[in-house]
C-alpha cells in the first residue's frame, strides 16, 4: 500500500467534548452572573443548600429521560410512575405505622419496606413500558403517553384524589449528612451509577449502539428487545427513586405532583446534549444541564422577587428555560456550520 510513513496516531480526545465544555462555561457564567447580580443572596451557604434539595426532584428524573432517549425513544410516563411509587410508599408507611407513626410495625422496618415498595412499583411500570415498546413494538412516545395516563389514573384510584401525608421520610428530604443535604447525595449516587452503567457495562454500550443504528444493531447480533426492556425498566426504577424523593421532600404523595417535570426533563436532556434521535449524550452534559436550569430558576426567582414581587416570576422562569435551550441550539447550529 502506501510507501509513505503511516499517519501519526495522535490523540484528539479531550476530557470533555467541545459541546460539554461550552455547556460547562455557560453554567459557570450563569452562576457567576447571579452571584454578582444578587450580592449576599445567591452565593450563600443557605441558598446552596436550598438548591441542593430542590434539584434532585427533577434532576433524578432527567436520568430516566436520558437513558430512554439514548435508545432513540422517550419515556413520558416517568412522572406518573414517580407519583404512583410515592403513593404506594406512603400507603405502606401509613398502613404499617399509622398516620402518626405509632402503629404496629417499627419504623426501622416500615421505612425500608416502603422504599422497596416504591422501587418495585417503578420496576413494574418500567417493565410494562419496555414490554410495550420492545415486544409489541409501539412507538415509545405513544406507549408511554398512554401508560403515563394509566399510572396517574391508578394513583387517583388508590388515593381517591387527595394527597396522602406522612412525615416519616422527612429525615431524608430535610436531613443532611456531614452538612450535605441527603437529596443531593442521592442525586450524585445516581450520577455515579449512571456513569458506570452507560460507560462500563455491555448493556450501556449496547444502549448507545442501538440508539445510533437499530438495523446495524440487529445485524451485529445485539438483542434489541432485551436492551429496550432493560432501558425502560431502569427508567422506571429511577422514577421510583424520584418518587421517594418527592415524598420525602413534600411529606406527601399525590397523583398530580410535578406535572411540569416531563417537559422540563426533556428540555434538560436536550440542553445536556442528549440526541433526540438516539445514540449520543453524556452524564456530564446532563449534570451540567440540571445545574444550569437550577441556577437559572433560583436566580431568576430571587431577581424577580427583588424587582417586582408578583407572580410574573413563574412565567418568566419558564421563559428563561426555553430561551436557554433555544440559545444553545442556535449556538450549535452556527458552530456546526463553521466547522465545515
Amino acid at each position: 500500500m502506501d510507501q509513505t510513513a503511516p499517519p501519526k496516531r495522535m490523540s484528539l480526545r479531550l476530557p470533555f467534548d467541545f459541546y460539554t465544555l461550552r455547556l460547562f462555561i455557560i453554567t459557570l457564567a450563569i452562576f457567576i452572573a447571579f452571584s454578582v447580580l444578587l450580592p449576599g443572596k445567591f452565593l450563600t451557604v443557605l441558598n446552596m443548600k436550598s438548591m441542593a434539595v430542590q434539584l434532585p426532584e427533577f434532576g433524578i428524573l432527567a436520568f430516566a429521560i436520558m437513558i430512554t432517549m439514548l435508545t432513540g425513544g422517550i419515556d413520558l410516563s416517568i412522572v406518573g410512575t414517580a407519583n404512583l411509587s410515592a403513593i404506594v410508599a406512603a400507603m405502606i408507611l401509613t398502613g404499617l405505622t399509622g398516620a402518626d407513626g405509632t402503629g404496629g410495625v417499627p419504623l426501622a422496618a416500615a421505612i425500608p419496606l416502603s422504599m422497596l415498595g416504591a422501587l418495585l412499583v417503578g420496576s413494574i411500570c418500567g417493565l410494562f413500558n419496555g414490554f410495550l415498546v420492545s415486544r409489541i413494538g409501539i412507538t415509545p412516545i405513544l406507549a408511554t403517553l398512554g401508560t403515563g395516563a394509566i399510572y396517574t389514573g391508578l394513583s387517583f384510584v388508590l388515593t381517591g384524589g387527595p394527597a396522602i401525608t406522612t412525615t416519616q421520610l422527612a429525615f431524608i428530604g430535610n436531613g443532611s449528612l456531614l452538612g450535605v443535604p441527603i437529596p443531593i447525595i442521592i442525586f450524585f449516587v445516581v450520577v455515579i451509577i449512571s456513569v458506570v452503567i452507560l460507560n462500563r457495562t455491555v448493556f450501556g454500550f449496547n444502549v448507545y449502539m442501538l440508539g445510533t443504528n437499530p438495523k446495524a444493531a440487529l445485524f451485529s447480533g445485539i438483542n434489541s428487545d432485551r436492551v429496550l426492556l432493560g432501558t425502560y425498566w431502569l427508567a422506571g426504577v429511577i422514577a421510583g427513586l424520584a418518587g421517594i424523593i418527592f415524598l420525602a421532600r413534600t411529606n406527601s404523595a399525590k397523583p398530580d405532583f410535578g406535572s411540569s417535570f416531563i417537559l422540563l426533563t426533556v428540555l434538560i436532556a436536550i440542553l445536556g446534549g442528549v440526541s433526540y434521535t438516539g445514540g449520543f449524550g453524556t452524564v456530564v452534559g446532563l449534570v451540567l444541564a440540571v445545574l444550569s436550569i437550577q441556577f437559572l430558576s433560583t436566580g431568576l426567582n430571587m431577581l424577580m422577587l427583588e424587582l417586582f414581587p408578583s407572580s410574573a416570576a413563574i412565567f418568566f422562569r419558564q421563559f428563561a428555560w426555553g430561551g436557554l435551550l433555544l440559545g444553545v441550539m442556535v449556538l450549535n447550529y452556527y458552530t456546526e456550520k463553521r466547522k465545515r
Binding site: 490523540s11 454500550f205 449502539m209 445510533t212 443504528n213
Partner: protein, 498 residues
C-alpha cells in the same frame, strides 16, 4: 487548453490533523468522460466535495467556465452546472420517484402550493429526457440501486447539469446495470455535451469508459492524461507506487474431514429453492449470480434472518435451528452484510466502538465491567491488521474514506472469530492494492481453519480467492464450478445464459 470547463490548481484540505489533499491539480474538459482513481483514503471524495462547495478548500484556485471563484457554496456550484451524485444519492426514500425528481424545482420556483400534476409531468419529462422508464408513483425506498442512480441522473439533468460527478456509482451495480447506466450517460454526453467525472475502483471499467484519467495518491495528483496513455498495470502502479500480481487460491480439500457447514434441500423465504452444498474448514467457496438470483437471500437464510420452510442446516455435524441471527452467531456463523452504511456500521460512533461491538462481552474485566485497556488493545490490533487509515480510532467511522469504512465492517466480524464467515461483497469500494491484502487475509483465516463463503459480483476476486464457485439462478444453485477448470469469460457467459 480552451476546452477546460473546470480547472483546479494547488488544492489543499486538511481535517483535524489529517492532510486529505495537498496541492492537487485537476482539469475537467467540456463534454468528456473523466475518471478519478486512487487508493482508499487518497482524497477522491474530499476533492469531489470541494468541487461541489460542500467542503471549503484550505488553499488553491478554482476556475469554472473562465470565472475564478474565491469562496464557493453548494448553491454556487449548482448554478455553474455542477451536479454531484453521492453514494447515498441524496434522495428521499419515503417520497415517490416523481416527487424526488421534481419537488426541488417546485420549491426553487417559490411556489406556495404544489401542483401535483405538474410534478408528475416534470418527472415524466425528465425520465423521458434520459430515455429510461421507471414507475413514477412508487417510493424511492422501493426501487433498485440502479434505478436510484438513474433517478439522480434525471434530477441532475433537470437542473441543467454541465458536469455530473458520480462517486463510486457502480460499486453496488451488476454488470448489466452498469452497461445500462453508461449507455444513458453516453447519450447525455453526445447530445447535451455534459462532462462526467467518475470515481471507481474497478479498473477494467475505468479503462473501458473513460476518455481522461486522473490518478491521485496520498492527496496528490500523480498523473493526469488521455485514456490511451494508460493500461491496467500503469494504473495500479500510479495508484500504489508498486505493481501487484494476484495468484489464485490453491486448496486441496481434505475429504476425510467432515464438513463445517452442510446445507441440504434448503427451502426458504422468499425464493430459495432446494439448496445443497457443503463448506469444509479451510475452504473459501464463492457464490455468484445476477441480481435477484437469491445469493443475498441465501446468506440471510444461513444467518438466521430469513424464515426457513424446509431442509437441514448442519454445523459441525450437528443439525441447527436458526430462528434468528443470534442463533446463527451462537453457532459460530458471522455475516458481513452487503450494505455497509445501513447494515454494517454505526456511522456516527467511533471506529473503536464499531470494531468491538461483536466482542464487547469478552472484553470485560473485574466486576464484569468493560475494560478500556482490553478494548483499546483489540482495536489497535485490528486497525493495524487491516491498515485502517485514521488519525485516531476514537473518531467517528464517518470520517473514514469509503474503503476504510469497509475495513471496519470486516474488522468487527473478524474480531469475533467465527467458524463460518459469510462475506457479502467483502471488498466493495476497496482499492486494488488493499483488495489483494484482504484476499491474503481471507486465505490466512481459511488456513487457520475458518470456512468462508464469499458472495461477489467480482469474478476475478472469486477466481483469486475461492477453490469452488457456486453459481446461482432463480433461487437455486445451478452449477458448482471448480476454480481451476474455468476462467473469467466462461463464468461471465454462464451468468447471463438463461
Amino acid at each position: 487548453m480552451t476546452n477546460a470547463f473546470l480547472r483546479l490548481t494547488g488544492i489543499s484540505k486538511s481535517f483535524a490533523g489529517v492532510q486529505a489533499l495537498r496541492d492537487v491539480d485537476l482539469t475537467i474538459e467540456r463534454g468528456r468522460v473523466h475518471c478519478l482513481v486512487g487508493e482508499n483514503g487518497s482524497g477522491k471524495s474530499t476533492l469531489i466535495k470541494i468541487i461541489a462547495g460542500v467542503y471549503q478548500r484550505d488553499t488553491g484556485e478554482y476556475v469554472i467556465d473562465g470565472k475564478n471563484l474565491a469562496r464557493l457554496q453548494p448553491i454556487d456550484a449548482i448554478r455553474e452546472g455542477v451536479q454531484v451524485i453521492y453514494q447515498d444519492f441524496s434522495l428521499f426514500p419515503n417520497l415517490t420517484v416523481a416527487e424526488n425528481i421534481a419537488l426541488n424545482e417546485e420549491v426553487a420556483e417559490g411556489r406556495r402550493w404544489v401542483n401535483w400534476q405538474q410534478v408528475r409531468n416534470v418527472a415524466a419529462d425528465a425520465l423521458a429526457q434520459i430515455e429510461v422508464n421507471i414507475p413514477l408513483d412508487v417510493t424511492v425506498g422501493e426501487v433498485s440501486v440502479a434505478n436510484k442512480q438513474l433517478i439522480a441522473v434525471a434530477k441532475a439533468m433537470r437542473q441543467n447539469a454541465r458536469l455530473i460527478i458520480m462517486d463510486e456509482p457502480t460499486t453496488a451495480l451488476t454488470e448489466r446495470e452498469i452497461r445500462a447506466l453508461f449507455s444513458v450517460l453516453r447519450k447525455l454526453q453526445e447530445r447535451d455535451g455534459v462532462a462526467f467525472l467518475f470515481v471507481s475502483h474497478k479498473l477494467d471499467e475505468v479503462l473501458s469508459i473513460s476518455e481522461k484519467i486522473i490518478v491521485i495518491r496520498n492527496g496528490k495528483t500523480v498523473s493526469e492524461g488521455e485514456r490511451d496513455e494508460y493500461d491496467r498495470a500503469r494504473l495500479v502502479y500510479d495508484m500504489t507506487g508498486h505493481s501487484i500480481t494476484e495468484k489464485s487460491y490453491d486448496f486441496e480439500p481434505d475429504l476425510s474431514q467432515p464438513p463445517l457447514l452442510k446445507v441440504e434441500n434448503l427451502n426458504a423465504e422468499p425464493m430459495l429453492n432446494d439448496i445443497n452444498f457443503e463448506l469444509r474448514a479451510g475452504e473459501i467457496v464463492g457464490v455468484t449470480g445476477l441480481l435477484g438470483s437469491g445469493r443475498t437471500e441465501l446468506a440471510l437464510a444461513l444467518y438466521g434472518m430469513q424464515p426457513i420452510k424446509s431442509g437441514r442446516i448442519t454445523i459441525d455435524q450437528k443439525p441447527v435451528d436458526l430462528r434468528s441471527n443470534r442463533d446463527a452467531i451462537a453457532h459460530g456463523i458471522g455475516y458481513v452484510p452487503e450494505d455497509r452504511l445501513s447494515e454494517g456500521l454505526f456511522l456516527e460512533q467511533s471506529i473503536a466502538k464499531n470494531v468491538v461491538v461483536r466482542t464487547i462481552e469478552s472484553l470485560r474485566g473485574s466486576l464484569g465491567l468493560t475494560d478500556p485497556a482490553k478494548i483499546s488493545g483489540q482495536v489497535s490490533q485490528w486497525v493495524d491488521a487491516l491498515r485502517i487509515k485514521t488519525a485516531d480510532p476514537a473518531l467517528p467511522v464517518n470520517t473514514l474514506s469509503g474503503g476504510n469504512q469497509q475495513r471496519v465492517v470486516l474488522a468487527k466480524w473478524l474480531a469475533s472469530n467465527p467458524k463460518v464467515m459469510i462475506l457479502n461483497g467483502p471488498t466493495v469500494g476497496v482499492d486494488v492494492g488493499s483488495k489483494e491484502e484482504l484476499h491474503n487475509l481471507m486465505k490466512k483465516l481459511a488456513g487457520e481453519g475458518m470456512g468462508l463463503l464469499v458472495i461477489s459480483d467480482d469474478i476475478p476476486e472469486l477466481l483469486g480467492t475461492c477453490n469452488r464457485i457456486l453459481l446461482m439462478r432463480n433461487g437455486t444453485i445451478v452449477e458448482e464450478i471448480n476454480t481451476k477448470e474455468t476462467n473469467e469469460n466462461k463464468i461471465s457467459s454462464k451468468l447471463i445464459e438463461d
